[in-house]
Amino acid sequence: MGPLIPNGIITGNWDFVIALLLGIAFGFILEASGFSSSRNIAGVFYGYNFVVLRVFFTAVIVAMVGFLYFDYFGWLDLDKIFILPTYLGPMIVGSVIMGFGFVLGGFCPGTSYTAIAIGKMDALLFTVGLFVGIFIFSEAFPLFEDFYYSGYLGNVTLSDVTGIPAAWFAFAFTVIALASFWITMLIEKRVRKNIKEYKF
């Protein structure tokens, strides 16, 4: 059956409608998960709130395992889904920069908009900085264009690169995620005991 557009079940004209609906759902889930609070997000790095890690890890393992079942039942053809191309070096550098931005600002781009939606001033300043960053990046792009496109591996998955079946990765990620849930719960308890000025 799926994916719907490559299989011709619906036309590509539905792209923006689907993007709008998914965007609304994504924003709602982010807000409902408490991601509109920079304290919750930055808490990962200080050890008092691991909700970000738990929500995203849950999303990853449910999607990984779920897609494998969907493929098996014939609901989604995994050979037809779009896979982002991999630029190894630039992606590692980008991830580090993103991490720094996360710690310093307390938001990522998506969560900053959900925070604006509920009227947070710090999120408003964050998005101003975001656009300034986009402007600087765009203007300075010719300087690091060669690096930006380096390390191209194609539209590959971990299974393609390593030859290890996807089920192994799904299981390994699930074990790591579940272990991290329990471990971070213990860390949270310990750290929160020593924090007096913030109510959880």
Binding site: D71, G74, A166, A167, F171, V175, F181, W182
Partner: protein, 203 residues
């Protein structure tokens, strides 16, 4: 410890472990035997050589001609813009992208109907729609398009129209020149009026 968390952890582990038993080998979906039988007895899967010739001449972008003969036969002779998918490679993953493209009609051909018909049955069993067979294959193509025969004099008008189309198609595909011998020039008898003798002299 929250009991729900424990339950969800175990459930997720079981589901993740279950993925080891999911077979990811491609399994082709098959249509129901009744549906296949119904489709087989329908003549709608056939397209004539004239229709194919017209598609090619019109440069129909939705046409995908598939030559199911061997690569050697394909190299020796093939129709314009046809791709070669040898019959024994029809199920190869390398060729699957050629089938099931929305808005594209796949026309199989071989030297006769038989191999192309078998290719059609296989693709129909795989659930691929919009596949057709060129009736009569290349043998019919040679007879009708490359070497068309003039209909007898008492044939209906449509037969002559078809013949004219085939002659045009023959020129298109072979580069043959217009055969003037067909149109015989009839001698037109010119009647000349006899000059009237005008009465000489005046009044």
């Amino acid at each position: 410890m929250n009991r729900n968390y424990f339950f969800l952890t175990v459930l997720m582990l079981v589901l993740a472990a279950g993925t080891f038993f999911l077979n990811r080998e491609p399994e082709y979906e098959q249509i129901k035997p009744e549906k296949l039988l119904y489709d087989i007895i329908q003549p709608t899967r056939y397209v004539t050589t004239d229709q194919v010739a017209r598609f090619i001449i019109d440069k129909d972008p939705t046409l995908e001609l598939v030559d199911v003969r061997s690569a050697a036969s394909y190299d020796h002779f093939s129709l314009n813009n046809a791709i070669n998918i040898p019959f024994d490679s029809l199920l190869s993953p390398n060729y699957q992208d050629y089938f099931g493209i929305p808005g594209t009609k796949v026309v199989f051909y071989s030297n006769d109907d038989i191999l192309a018909d078998q290719a059609w049955v296989i693709t129909r069993r795989m659930g691929i729609n919009e596949t057709y067979v060129m009736k009569g294959g290349l043998n019919c193509w040679i007879e009708t398009i490359i070497q068309p025969k003039e209909p007898p004099e008492d044939a209906p008008y449509t037969a002559f129209e078809l013949y004219q189309f085939r002659k045009g198609a023959q020129m298109y595909f072979t580069g043959a020149k217009v055969d003037n011998s067909v149109v015989k020039k009839k001698k037109v008898a010119v009647r000349r009026k006899k000059k009237q003798k005008v009465a000489a002299g005046g009044c």
